[in-house]
Symmetry: C3
Subunit: 349 residues, 3 copies
């Protein structure tokens, strides 16, 4: 019996073969995270490392056979407490493209029904030798709690209205592909800012890359702590340096990037919106309004979109829209994150 | 660094290795479909190509190790808006036997809950580099709509009461295994014809193979556009040339094949059925009734079956029944379709 | 064309490579089961075989790349009619670590919604060439019924309040790792004995290994057929030789092992419990009560646990607790069972 034979059918997790599989060596990677919870503690260099690696992952996705099985033997568990098509499938595909095994546990089929606590669930999944737990939860902060009780790495796939860091990273990657550099670019996010985890992670990420972030929406849907157009001193530590503008036409003027946020229709019941019709009239991102942005502006949406409410159907599928690119790039960015975590864990953490 | 190394762990999608894996070259394949939506536009030669290839796939399934990973790197997404055990699992297994990655998205865990439109969902999934979207939807025509908005190939796994082409193909394959040829064979489908996607795709497929198709059921459950025993001229274009018979004993007489269709128990509420008991008395496929069919008749059912309603329990598990063969053959036929689509896409479409 | 090439990308199911992958030959295995339904018909030697093999599987799990793909080409179907996180994920991971394909079918997405009968479902899944059906069902006995209608092997993953044999096996494995031998060890199970499939399989398994099993709980939650402290003769055949004790302090005294069982909170509505508070006061496994057990006692819980009800939070995460080990060992035991079944089927059954 030859011991070397014992793992033969399993390719190396990462290592020299990764260079081959990714078509290049990944040098000068800066990465010091066990978990990906939000971007507020990400260095510029760390974001650059993710983006650079995502570029190589995107090349893998564009191959005829879109596979680079450098994470064989790596276990990713998708733990989703909220319904999701795109993010769950994106992580599942990201894992599978790299040869990892991906197991999905969704709240409605899980023993959460039996009242199992979040901590108990996460401890259990990591005891099953999960390497990464990708987690979506309706409660802000849940992935932080989880990360303190597991040996696995936790990736936040959206927690309440708090954070959605992989969305922000895929947006940054998409913008860098188009613009080269985000420095001093005007990025306007329009919609229900105060309940949007996409907006919150976006403002941290875009700011870290040197962009000028403008938040635009009706006063009732702007984060508390912001006054209109001037933010009190005490709130400065809690949010990056961004501008606020309730008039969409002023906000969009000369914008490099306009991102329409999904409007949760339930918001209307909460009394924060007079009506969907009124919202659309005042804040829908339309062709006419985009004519005030820069000529080569980019139009983004995190999806799923309500066409005719927060975004016009014509511009959503127009030539300035990067909505489908964002989806493809999302797979690439998630591949990059799984790889960075696997490589860090392999080095002995 | 050797570029050739980069994809080493991934087997070719299709190509020369496929010949080896399938035990033979697949010559003279006629196949001109980007999508599989219904059989009404399938040529006889195309159906023959699927059936012939399904025979090779069935040989793979009968091996001790039932795997031929010729579709490594191929991504299949199961998008099911209606509950399904057998069809979803059958496609998942078909993909996995061929080495493809299969991701399942079901309606109750998907962001369809959030109101995401069908088109948006399909665009998103294809932007994630899905090669095939296998789709079941409660609305007739939904897969057609989907196919016009995606780069992926769409396979209809059942849409409303419209079509279920993979079921018809597996039925044809099962019958050809038993009968050799369907030409001039009498195939009787009994039950709720007007709401049955199985019947609708079956009539197109069986007719294309030269069989004589007889539809049998209570007048309220026959398709409108059919009068009893004579069909008006204007309906000819919408349906293949089939016969109608409301008397089951007349219909079954000298039949080569009898297919009992599942009765949706909900149909009773709609006022189309007096009672389940009355239905069973008049239209249940029983041993006594089958005694009027040919001696070596074949009894089919697409499953899941209501024993004691549309079919007698004794005949369902009797020697003329092909119900379990149909299930196994369903995996083989779906393997064949995935292979044909992959090969077409590889040729540059 | 070379025939030998045809299966090249698929590793052998089991065989000489298994020795390499597992790091040793598996000699003297005693195993005579087509199905794993309960432990009441398991020989001591069969349990020892599972445990010994689970030890090798645990070594695979502890590798940096926790994979030994010796079951490539093997198909496991998870058929869960009750919600479950841990057991379903554990079987899925067990299969994937060994390179098997695992397909999950859960009741709320399955055609069980359409009224498909259990037998029909199981026949269908085995006709799809499933090798193993892992089944959880709310009805006691359902896996037995299933096993009589399928060519696949059925593993009971919990049926009603009847049996949960893989849980008992993982508990035995965990105890043997800690204690070496279970002979004459005092194992106390505390809680809702009469509704617990964990307790029921545990008593068979622990008794077979020579342990002294004590069942402890309120009289209303002890199995009928037991009188307090003496069991009538006629019940002897239905249960192994165990002791009953309603006083938890007497039960725990000098115990080697204490297992707290999950209390189903719904039990209160049934009138079998005065209140959760009263239950906790009388039967919660606490540090104080455990001080009467042996010094090096082991504390177990099958999970998911209600901390503060049947178990104290401090002891649950204390140094005597094996709760997380049980989870990891559960994957190892399930790997062992899948392997034993595959090897038996390969020998021609």
């Amino acid at each position: 019996m030859v011991t070397n034979d014992s793992e033969r059918p399993v390719e190396p997790l990462v290592g020299q073969s990764a260079e081959g599989a990714l078509g290049t060596a990944s040098q000068d990677v800066v990465w010091n995270h066990d978990h990906v919870l939000d971007l507020d503690d990400f260095l510029y260099e760390e974001i650059e490392s993710v983006i650079s690696l995502a570029g190589k992952m995107r090349e893998v996705l564009d191959r005829r056979i879109a596979r680079a099985p450098i994470l064989r033997g790596f276990t990713v568990i998708n733990l989703f407490f909220e319904p999701s098509t795109r993010t769950r499938a994106s992580f599942e595909l990201a894992g599978k493209v790299l040869g990892a095994d991906v197991i999905s546990v969704s709240a409605n089929t899980s023993s959460v029904v039996k009242g199992e606590s979040l901590i108990d669930t996460v401890k259990t999944l990591s005891a099953m030798t999960a390497d990464v737990i990708v987690m979506r939860h309706e409660m802000s902060g849940a992935p932080y709690l989880a990360s303190r009780h597991t040996r696995a790495s936790v990736i936040n796939a959206g927690d309440g209205s708090h954070a959605h860091p992989t969305q922000a990273l895929l947006d940054i990657y998409t913008l860098k592909q188009r613009l080269g550099d985000l420095k001093d670019k005007k990025i306007v996010m329009v919609g229900d800012i105060s309940h949007s985890r996409v907006a919150r992670s976006g403002m941290w990420g875009f700011s870290a890359m040197g962009a000028n972030v403008v938040l635009c929406g009706p006063p009732t849907l702007l984060p508390s702590g912001f006054a209109v157009s001037d933010r009190p001193e005490h709130a400065r530590t809690a949010l990056p340096d961004v501008d606020i503008e309730t008039d969409i036409d002023v906000a969009i003027k000369d914008a490099d990037v306009v991102m329409a946020l999904r409007l949760q229709k339930e918001r209307q019941q909460g009394g924060l919106l007079p009506s969907l019709h009124e919202y659309s009239r005042l804040y829908q991102v339309t062709a006419e309004r985009l004519s005030k942005a820069k000529n080569n502006h980019i139009l983004m949406h995190p999806g799923p979109k309500n066409e005719g409410i927060e975004i016009g159907g014509d511009v959503a599928s127009g030539s300035n829209s990067t909505i489908e690119e964002q989806v493809t790039n999302g797979v690439a960015v998630r591949m990059a994150l799984l790889y960075l975590i696997a490589q860090r864990n392999q080095r002995g953490n």
